[in-house]
Amino acid sequence: MICRLNAHAQVKQDSASNKPSSSLYNSPSQDSAKYNPRKLKLDEVDFVSSYYSQNGDHSAVTGGIGTEKVTDFANSIALNFVWTNKHQNKNTLAVGLGFDAHTAASQAYVSKTGASSPNGTRLYPSLDWTVENAKTGNTFGVGTYYSTEYNYQSLGADLHFSEKTDDKNGEFSAKLQGYFDHVTLIYPSEFNPMAIDISSSNYGGGGHNHGNDDNNGSSPRETYSAAFGYTQIINSRLQIAFLADVVGQNGYLSLPFHRVYFTTGKDTIEKLPSSRFKLPLGFRLNYFWGDNIILRSYYRYYLDNWGIRSNTANLEVAYKVSPFFSISPFYRFYNQSAARYFAPYGEHSPTDQYYTSNYEYAKFSSQFFGVGFRIAPPNGVFGWQGLHELEIRYGHYTQTTDLVSDVVSLSLGFK
């Protein structure tokens, strides 16, 4: 019973609690919703903030060698508005806005002299509308999102729906997405001397005062994906989800400021195929062990037509110190094979059809581990009724390429 008071973020529970007859607990706000079922109200506000710090020595900007030092301060806010229509169906409008500010040491070397701006920002608003059938719990919705930074613009849209099984213990979901992006063609300075002449000190991807923006032009990149999921309650302690995405990309899939050095010592810019097909398959399995421990597991197998095969395994053990406070250590293991177009610095032949020294496409494995804390007392965090949930999480990440990073995140949920 006590656990249900805070069980607000679970998909199946959401649909159950939206029906007054089956809800074990009705908050004052739910009561007023029943009194005036059509009224639009701000139901929840979620705020997530993260600080990310990274170091490494295989930057793609400098051809697979050189600093990968990055810091990123990412912030997002999501406002969820709800109302019911004349059929008592629940409508949710989610309005989101994100803002990132980063520094990337390698970005300075878009200019051969290291004089480009190492700073950048990204802004990404989003909008999603979902309607849930009051009788069946099935949902249908549409969403759109936009992301803009100095050298990259992305416009996306999706269509999503879910349908529960007759016994409400299973649910099928599908999401069709399309991204329509534009990559600004910012080349390394040695391939674009005009740019350096015009904006000598601030030419580069992501910063300010970049000068001759109009001369750069852009290339399109399109991504289409279909994401399918099926969740099933196995018993009162165990539930599982199967996940499968089918993703197709076409257009300009390289980045123009990534250098590649050939065996001859000459450099050029990265060249990758203009299409890519990805197939990630995964599952989640969560188990409630005893009265205090929840095992959250995830596995994914990934393959694409660039020759990459990958495994991801994640295990998180959430220990409920009390019904309202939990500690969750986690561990994630990841490995991948190299793309057939990857070679380290100075190892590509000039006769290669495609080439990159971006270590994202190298063979490596990584480990990510850390701990999270979640507080969600019924009378609000720190006694503040409006703040119903607080989560803090820290993680340390290492790659066999010697890239290391740390990330700390804060999530606040307001009702």
């Binding site: 656990c3 249900r4 069980a7 607000h8 973020a9 679970q10 998909v11 199946k12 529970q13 159950a16 979620d46 997530v48 993260s50 990310y52 793609a60 990968e68 990412a74 997002s76 994100g98 990337a104 970005q107 992301s147 050298n151 990259y152 992305s154 416009l155 996306g156 409400k168 213990n169 992006d181 991807g205 994401a227 099933q232 196995i234 018993n235 009162s236 599982i240 996940l243 980045l255 990630p280 599952f283 989640r284 399995l285 969560n286 409630f288 959250r296 994914r300 990934y302 694409d304 990459i308 990958s310 495994n311 395994a313 293991f333 990841y334 994202e360 989560e391 999480r393 990073s405 995140s409």
Partner: protein, 73 residues
């Protein structure tokens, strides 16, 4: 953990899970409905998924990236 061991473990868990489904009524779902049992990423993981998708070639099957971004550097 080797790749082969992970695949065997994955298959084992799926087989165990799918052969023992029972029908639960709403009042029997108190543990299943616990907020820690949610079958998706935590909200606080949002930005972690973003940086992983930039540093690693694999993505998807994880309700991950929802916007653009070149992930340069």
């Amino acid at each position: 953990m080797t790749t082969k061991a992970m695949k065997v473990l994955a298959c084992l868990l799926i087989v165990i899970g799918c052969t023992s489904c029972v029908h639960l009524k709403e009042y029997q779902k108190s543990r299943i409905n616990d907020s820690e049992m949610v079958l998706s990423n935590r909200k606080v993981e949002k930005n972690e998924l973003n940086f992983q998708s930039y540093r690693e070639a694999a993505s998807g099957a994880n309700v991950g990236k929802t916007g653009g971004g070149c992930g340069c550097n």
